[in-house]
Symmetry: C2
Subunit: 123 residues, 2 copies
């Protein structure tokens, strides 16, 4: 059973991992085999789609990295946490979001759903 | 197809409805027939359990009512919103929570998951 805090740390690491092979390894540690991701802009229906989706997101925000900025807040088989996308050089936030996920029996994430905070929140 | 803003308004009304019969009618409008509720303190696996659960919650907070304080924020088949439990006479907040839900094809809520904000948030 993976510890939820470790899984969420690995989840953030997925979004920051530029190497596709290492990213896919992190995805396998983070998501259940039938895991999914869905937010207002992107979706991934399996580990390969999730990996490609994260790569595309990274290409849109060069020089930025994701940081865990609240949580994880976990009860029963659900968890939520807040992330901030920041510029590596200045630390300026470019986006803030809240992710909600169901947790599989082995502790990995199953269905991850992301919401974006209004832009003013990130200013 | 029920409008999501109306469904969420009805959802808040469920939590404020003291009459068990009217509450159950609101629950039927709000939740899909296989709808559920889960938070750190309570769960309801069907409409009857949800109704009894809400009645028990009301009994714990006499003189209070729920208000929608952020959202609904809706994309794809998911929605999130923030509620505040306030004292009717003073408006003082007693609790703040974020609810996340999946939305059934007819627009009603299916699986509602609640999270409670730290107490300091409500102060």
């Amino acid at each position: 059973m993976a510890d939820i805090a470790t899984v969420v740390d690995d989840y953030i690491a997925v979004w920051n991992e530029a190497d596709p092979v290492r990213r896919q390894e992190l995805i396998a540690r983070t998501w259940a085999d039938d895991g999914t991701y869905l937010d207002p802009l992107m979706r991934g229906e399996d580990p390969e789609q999730i990996g490609a989706m994260v790569g595309a997101a990274q290409a849109q925000f060069p020089g930025h990295r994701f940081e865990l900025t609240a949580g994880p807040d976990h009860h029963n088989d659900v968890v939520r946490f807040t992330w901030t996308l920041v510029a590596v050089d200045t630390g300026a936030p470019a986006a803030v979001g809240v992710d909600f996920a169901t947790v599989a029996e082995d502790g990995r994430l199953r269905a991850v759903t992301g919401f974006l905070e209004p832009a003013a929140t990130a200013a």
